[in-house]
Symmetry: D3
Subunit: 239 residues, 6 copies
């Protein structure tokens, strides 16, 4: 088996996490998984959605978008279409759920953190890159909240990262780019905590059904990749 | 551990599949997983979406809805809100993908099968019940297409069924109803083919992350449940 | 004259009213006028629309929908189109007005009853079936409100029922099914109270204008049909 | 009984029909029923909706709107709300049906006539004024079509006019203005042809149910009023 | 150079301002610039948008619309399209800004004045006619507010008027009608105060870029035209 | 007078134009006016809007957007609101008009160039930065069209650039950043060609009306700034 990218089966793309990428947001990270580039911002606002008012608890929610020409062919702008597509909503629900697992929401007070993940260039894996970058932006936003006195102490954060794996020509491969993803038999997105637990496992048979053995092989590969992501997140946050 | 429903961990709810439930659709099935009741219709139209025109290939697509008072509290009607929610879109994308795995689309000619899954009463597991019932409606629609001469021979169908599993009070349990789902630590939806392959595996940690061991235990349980569903589908189709 | 249905001019279809059809709603009735089948639910919520706040008075409102394949040809789902059509809005306004005539709204306290009429199979007369079934669901909801203590005593209900009549091949006929409706010269929907008063009379010339005499003949026929409906409503409520 | 307007029970408001009110439309009529003022334009376009293509037949359709401050309190502009309300859709469906009864659509060729009724000042009876004025605009548009050669000969037109009647303090009264309409027990809109047939009869009990006798008394009164409208339409068209 | 309209370069169309054109609005003006006819109403409501609550200050906002057949070819109704177009939004933002320059908003108390400009016939210059007419409607509305006691004294109003100028066949011309506008090289809309200051200057090169000299010549011409408009506004307000 | 930015009245911010900023688009430029950063892409598609089909002529259109946290306070995402705001539509209409002035559309064949300007960080002047950057992206897209053979020869391009000027504390100043813009009396956006002609002049009095002299002083200042922009565009295109 030879991957279109020339990478070995367990080799990730070059990953970069650039903090403070834009100026206004409390947390702002440019995350790059090779040619996939996503701006992740975390914005803090006081107040919570109606269903939480008076609970003393905070909220984290996510929105996802792509610039129209982030992709090989220009897609119609969702704002001009007048609605977000199903894929967009599915991805932003996933990002939101994943990030809410990172922090005890009771530690936020009645504040909301809006996480925006905007893909400026897409080459496969935009949802996993978004989660990985957004978790760093979230930590930065929490630090700003602490500085501003919105929260008294930094909540404990369980770092979250995500990667895609697939079965390509019968073999499990890590971190698929767009050409690999298009040709893969199975696509599996895995979100984990830095303590080794699974937050989300979403596997889809694209061409042929997959077996329990293949699933386990993919999960093992995902864990390898995610461990590297945790190290890079830590490096970025320490710098 | 004692399930709220009183069932044993590996016990499914009573499942019923009623074919020819409504009169107009080519396939029409009422599927019941206990108190969860979904009307699944399969409607055949000649023609395919633009991206398939001239390909000689057919298409299967799904839409999902809930009656406003299918649930404990009345939800606002999506038609009057002016848009389908993220959960709705996510579920109907899942149903469509699953059913497209059941049939070789090239065997349909340039025809489209619209599968509508409308929940008239909800008690957890509406998406898995929908997939299980819709596959039967799909077979009925194919038979009608054959009778009408829209296709020359019945395509081979790989039956598809789905069930949810979860971790409830630390133990894997099968086919969660709504109270169990609300209290579970993990929610896993599994879609399989009757040859034993996975089509979709979607696991979400609700309260606590889950481990690879827990995932495997849940998958084994799902397979048990799905095998029962395949038997019931066959029984319904043979009657 | 011979009706397509083989019925005599003043003969209604078989009518069935099944109470407690679904589990969650305070009132839930499956109403069948022959092959026309509508699920009518009445849901109680505390609070009223803004224009009634502080008035001490309640509100009753209705929404109407059809499953996409309730009809001979699949219709696009209104939720996915992003708006309710004119026919839908017209029918749900009619149902709401009719039901508000059944009860003195001041007897409800500041509570709102949402009536949802969802057609699962259509064969003509869906709006009249909806009104007839919804009035039974409304009574059930009022009984539940009384049990729960939301109201101190059961309000007096003026029962409401509705039927369609038409001119078919020059003769007035009662309770048109879809083939009859399509071929009729005139279509008249009549809503009455059990005391014999008219609540709504909506007559439309489809092919040829109609005369005052024809209108009166149709109204007399409608009254006959509606009297049968009142008897069936009472029977259902007493069971 | 004394009407708020001081008119006698069978007295209509002052009616005016001003043809060629605006310059661009093929037919353009300002219709005034007292203080109710509606601009009715009929616009001709070649081509028909999809369901009529190739049929050789034409189509007539109507749209209705109100300027935001046509009413006593400013209403939100439907264009800025992003949708037309149920009342608007109901009225424009009524106008369209009424006008399609005026002409044999086969005599139009594959042309569409768009009728726009825009209320610039409202004082009750906007839908009946709209129908009455729009029928005159329709005739003017047909004449222009003939001049332009879009049709070879003028189709025969069955003139259509409409008026509202009501039960006010127990007595039938003709052509209700807004204060009368608000206080009436019953509101009945009647659309007729100049040959004396009914096109639409829409009666709604506002406060108390109405009887067959009351309905007949109102219909007789409506006929009186509509006869006056036919005379005024003819006068306008002859000038 | 000869203008299509036959007017001289600095000659405006016949301008008419008819106050009290409709009955309900606090201010209601029909403004005519030749064949361009716009109904401008000013409606007063107590309360202000959220961002001004508690400020003691009022607000003025504008909406703009065209009847579908105000133009040579019928345009789709924005209410039925479900959104206002970019041109509409741009024009109503311009009108709103211009009128807010007419009055010190602090003198209004926490009241909002909604200005609606609805074009019933278009022949070029609808935005400038709208501004010119709306300012008169605004003054009338302020007078009504004073009469009703909503404000204690009439605020000082800086009258606002607007006109279009263009370069037609190389020469600056005043107050373009539609055929002139379509053929002009440059289109410039100018909004001024009666003290001679500019409120808005919006110049667009249609065919060829324009020079600073041309801009100045157009501005001088605009000032001439606007001076006539101020005189006509005053005449109307004094009558 | 001292500008908040510390710049002299005629001093622009640091301008940067980075070509080939993203990978997929035919033209892709990151334009920076100080802290204002906009990604401008030009995407080529064969085909033109309906009104140009068969004309042999091409089309250029623009869309504008901001990331939700491009600004000091997070704005709601237009895609999730379901519509683009008036400001967005106004700006993208301006950008489109400006770019269509750069090229003779007949030289494009029946191809459409979509220009997307997405603001990733805003600090005033986003529309002028967008136009300046988009013109460079347009040139790159034309070069790609030539390479791909979509057009036979490079069309002549009249370079377009834009800058804002204002009256700040009584003095004209060039290239306002956000704090300056918020405090300015007048805001003027100027779009010019490299031959010195004006394409758009849009001046708005924010606090006080402006005079012809002030307008001319601002225009002179704008020309100075734009000349620098043309030099920078040329430098970027030559590199």
């Amino acid at each position: 088996m030879k991957r279109p990218s020339g990478r070995s089966a367990e080799q990730m793309r070059e990953i970069r996490l650039t903090r403070h990428y834009t100026r206004h947001a409390e947390g702002s990270v440019l995350v790059e998984f090779g040619d996939t580039k996503v701006i992740c911002t975390a914005s803090v606002e006081s107040g919570v959605p109606r269903f939480l008012r008076g609970s003393g608890q905070g909220w984290i929610t996510a929105e996802y978008g792509m610039l129209p020409r982030a992709t090989g062919e220009r897609m119609q702008r969702e704002a001009s279409k007048g609605k977000q597509g199903g894929r967009t909503l599915e991805i932003q629900r996933l990002i939101g759920r994943a990030l809410r697992a990172a922090v005890d929401l009771r530690s936020l007070g009645e504040n909301t953190i809006y996480v925006d993940c905007d893909v400026i260039q897409a080459d496969g894996g935009t949802r996993t890159a978004s989660i990985t970058g957004a978790c760093v932006a979230l930590v930065d936003a929490l630090r700003v909240m602490k500085q501003r006195g919105a929260i008294k102490k930094l909540p404990e954060v369980q770092m979250i990262a995500a990667v895609s794996v697939g079965i390509y020509q019968g073999e499990p491969v890590l971190d698929l780019d767009y050409p690999e993803d298009s040709a893969a038999d199975t696509d599996l997105n895995v979100v984990m905590t830095d303590k080794g637990g699974f937050i989300e496992v979403q596997g889809t048979a694209e061409a042929a059904p997959f077996s329990a053995e293949e699933l386990n092989a993919m999960l093992a590969l995902a864990r390898q990749g995610i461990d590297q992501l945790f190290a890079l997140q830590q490096l970025a946050l320490d710098s």
